[in-house]
Symmetry: C2
Subunit: 470 residues, 2 copies
């Protein structure tokens, strides 16, 4: 099988080939390494490629599979990790100068789980420095580029993972989402990205950005890939105080359940305004597909949306600065300028604002729980715009210039604040040929329904067939 072909397979295509011995883990990893050699310089998706370790792992896994010890659909599969996930013996930089030489002793809990599932760690991906930004063009290791147009950002903070998944530089990847950092690069790169329920995947061994908003999660070229990754990464971890002891189902088992009969909430006020018209059209097209598949679109009003976005930002800014205060004071010049400015702004957040923001979050969580008695899912556009150019600060929405962050995070933060599971699936391409994402949000702990609907949509729309030409 040609390298390119192997490297663009979805996980449901690749896993059976590995299981049945039609391709070996070594062959797969070699194909990916060749592709990384060819393309990573242009995309800057990886900060570190763990070539030797990956080859050694692949050889071991090859033997295991040959002797019939098949671990499951990640066995022998090349996985990239956002460079915020601790990896024993492999530097973990957070895309920062400050941690450029930092080598952890231990794997993050979710990394250990992925290894136990047979995943081959192929490298550590680029990100917005310290995960504090949504464009991933601000990194000590240089900007991450979008595989669909290298002049554009990959989105962030998990931009390297988004770019690597989209460009076929890994089969699946991890990201982390504090204000949209999985879902935004997923949307902008045309991949699937899942932010699970808060507490579902352990954050132990990830450099924190905001203790109460951080959500580790998977990115993949298909919903199935995200489901497999979630099954492997999820589970209670007493070392993470945010981790909750809730049973973890096999998320791949019910994927073909479909979307027929599910009630999908639509808030027209929120979902159809403040965004680019191409995004709006794409979103409306996606809703029509979901309806064709038998879902019932229910008009709802999501309360406290603006208040919720602001509250999430307040909490993020206070916690990020609390975490970074020491280095912000001792090594301010070692931060990217935009990250430093954001951290400095956090010093001005007052305790009473934080307290109110937390209360808003609790009220919103309660209101959304009530709303989710009427619907099974909520649908929104993922980002309000396509990927902006690298360095671009503003974008025109409804004739007005707004900072790019506003439409990028318009639909993300509320679900960090409330901890609800949310997925981004590709739903269209803009006239410029850039991907557009659809967000589906579920009840707490109900990633399963989110995945069912996303899988049904993906199968009907077949956006996963489209690949960037590189």
């Amino acid at each position: 099988m040609a390298d390119l072909e192997l490297c663009t397979l979805t996980l449901e295509e690749l896993a059976p080939l590995l299981r049945d011995g039609q391709v070996s883990p070594v062959e797969v990893i070699q194909s990916y390494l060749v592709r990384i050699d060819t393309l990573n310089e242009a995309l800057n998706a990886y900060i570190t490629v763990t070539r030797d370790q990956a080859l050694a792992d692949a050889r071991r896994y090859e033997e295991e599979i040959l002797r019939g010890d098949y671990r499951g659909p990640l066995h022998g599969v090349p996985v990239a990790l956002k460079d915020l996930y601790d990896t024993a013996g492999v530097r973990t930089t957070a895309a920062s100068k400050i941690y450029a030489q930092r080598v952890p002793q231990e794997d993050a809990t979710s990394v250990a789980r992925l290894r136990a599932a047979g995943a081959v760690l192929i490298g550590k991906t680029n990100l917005h420095e310290f995960a504090y930004g949504v464009t991933a063009d601000s990194s000590f290791f240089g900007p991450t580029r979008n595989p669909w147009d290298p002049e554009r950002v990959a989105g962030g903070s998990s931009g390297g993972s988004g770019a690597a998944v989209a460009a076929g530089l890994c089969a699946v990847a991890t990201g982390s989402d504090t204000g949209g950092s999985i879902r935004i690069p997923a949307a902008l790169c045309g991949t699937v990205g899942l932010k699970p329920t808060y507490g579902r995947i352990s954050g132990h061994g990830l450099l924190p950005l905001s203790w109460t908003l951080d959500h580790p999660g998977p990115m993949a070229r298909s919903v199935y890939g995200a489901a497999v990754m979630l099954s492997a990464m999820a589970g209670y971890d007493p070392r993470d105080p945010a981790s909750v002891d809730v049973p973890v189902p096999d998320y791949t088992a019910g994927l073909r359940h479909g979307v027929a009969g599910l009630r999908i909430g639509l808030d027209p006020q929120w979902a159809l305004s403040g965004i680019h018209e191409d995004v709006r059209a794409a979103f409306q097209g996606a809703l029509a597909v979901l309806e064709d598949l038998g879902a019932e679109i229910v008009e709802v009003s999501v309360p406290r949306v603006v208040e919720g976005m602001e509250a999430a930002l307040t909490i993020l800014m206070a916690e990020a600065t609390a975490i970074h205060e020491k280095f912000l004071r001792s090594r301010p010049d070692d931060y990217q300028p935009d990250v430093r400015a954001r951290l400095e702004k956090g010093l001005a957040i007052r305790g009473i604002d934080y307290g109110r923001a937390r209360r808003t979050g609790e009220l919103l969580r309660r209101d959304l729980a009530a709303l989710f008695q009427r619907v099974d899912l909520l649908a929104t556009p993922m980002c309000g715009i396509i990927a902006p150019k690298i360095g671009q600060r503003e974008v025109i929405i409804d004739g007005e210039a707004v900072p790019v962050m506003a439409p990028l995070t318009r639909y993300t933060r509320v679900f960090n604040l409330t901890g609800l599971p949310a997925i981004s699936v590709p739903c269209a391409f803009s006239p410029e040929g850039l991907p557009i994402g659809l967000q589906l949000v579920g009840r707490a702990w109900d990633e399963a329904t989110v995945l069912w609907a996303a899988y049904a949509y993906e199968t009907a729309a077949e956006w996963t067939q489209r690949r960037p030409s590189l």
Copy 2:
């Protein structure tokens, strides 16, 4: 039956008399009203006595019981409410000038539940203004006095409820506990006070002090009374975002379970230092009783205690000031000076401090969950001192003058921060004849074990037999 006798019965003594028609609700309420007329001026336990409504309710309940419609052990029982609980048509002042004329339209959820259980609301009790203080001698309606020595404070903030329960001015009462406000007056007045698990009793309809630390709960002359009140007050309430949908057992059912075989954690470093020697001796005596009853005392080390106390205070100060900011700016002179000073200090709390405090709380909750795998309960003294004099600012501990708040809250705040259930039961009298309390703390949602142990201890120690001579 003489008035005095009726008014000092515990709930397990009174309830069967009402059930069997040996005394009528009207007779009971009249006895209590007479006693209030005699004693309330000296103690200032009540801000409002709902005489007419109480008599009307009692007459209705009398009929119900006569015709065989017995609602359970609160039927016809006089209940006092901390004047922070909304009561439809009855002013709810928070002991403040600002709300001195405030008349709510609706009962708080827990008040409605108590009414449904047949409780007769007899009045609204005094408190530290806005519940923001632990002495209850700072109130627009004047200081609450301790029934064991009216020159001393009743403790706070729920001092009026503590004094009313101890002095026989009500059968049972409600309090609320944000940093010890149920447990401290319970200890200082020699009553039982229970702070349940965070989210167990709805806070809807209580004036908030700190959204994330407020715990409504019962006060009573016996553990049985607290158990009955908890059973009535607890339960999921979608209107309170903090409320959690966890089944509510009948807490009276297992009370005679006993304490034999239970492992009770003791942290000598924390529990035996920083307190008055009489308290230490009383606590050690209580531990000996628990051991005699078959409990196993297990030496433990509670982590992050000092950090946890400070974190709870940071969160309290930020949230209280967030809640009061409007009036603090528009009507600063309408606050009691100490409350105003506390609220003004809250303006200086930084968001990053709040964020760190929240994180400390999460870490402590995790650590305590681990510790509670080794023990069933934790025991500490309740307050480090007996009731100070009204207006007293400092107390001598180990030869050093410290603010009275320090020993009063030494064992309280950590369990507001972590939300764990904790009870105060009388365990001794000081040489001055003032009561001393024992604290027992349990696992989240496990009020039952806390009540078992407290009941067994109470039965063995029989402190409930002792009453202030008034």
